[in-house]
Symmetry: C2
Subunit: 116 residues, 2 copies
Amino acid sequence: MVEQQTPAEDPLTEILKAASDPTRRGILTLLAQAGPTRVTEIAARFDISLNAVSKHIKVLEQAGLVSRRTLWREHLIEVQMQPLVLIDQWFAALRSIWALRLEKLDDLLTKEQTDD
Amino acid sequence: MVEQQTPAEDPLTEILKAASDPTRRGILTLLAQAGPTRVTEIAARFDISLNAVSKHIKVLEQAGLVSRRTLWREHLIEVQMQPLVLIDQWFAALRSIWALRLEKLDDLLTKEQTDD
DNA sequence: TTGTTGTTCAACCATATGGATGAATTAGAT
DNA sequence: ATCTAATTCATCCATATGGTTGAACAACAA
């Protein structure tokens, strides 16, 4: 048995999905301000069950947005910023594709004008 | 009847959700390179039904990531970059919260060292 | 008129998601 | 030994999501 844990989507998709839930973004914010925090501690700040929070954390972990340091019973959860850079990169790529088209379009118009 | 169209989530959540689907990101990329494009034209590039694409476009539209110009039968879909800035802003905010904590932590350590 | 084209709408389906609750596990405290 | 604390695991539930197919509709082409 090779521990199949969902078909493994591409990283960007996982990151965006993980970030698209308000509760999860709340958890990230909390972790950013508070530093490494225990699961129970995190759960205390939200109005949902500890279990629900535990699941959210797992999603974030899967996406690489948080890491876990397990000290016996206590799991210290810590935010990881690096993966978010992938979002930036995607945005930048999209933007440059878009800019490129406008540029070409502009060239074309300029040329036509010159041809007059 | 006040046209209730789902409880209206916050914009950032809608944008991230919309962007978290690979097909939808594909559509955005296509639109960025090709400019305003008809629904049928878009659908032709993807290996799913026209209807599925139509639904994806509606999600993108809802999130403000594309706009629609309807010329009689033809609907011209165009990418809208502005909303993506909200993602950047969220990321920047998170990052600054995080940086602030590290800064404080650093101050604390420096102070202790001075106290030695 | 009668097609044909470009789209959405309406069902329907399988699977994913976010939540709840209860049990299981493991270690520290009495 | 027992109790309590910190977590995850296992179920279960309702709703959302992404996809399909078939119908409806409006406008251009024959």
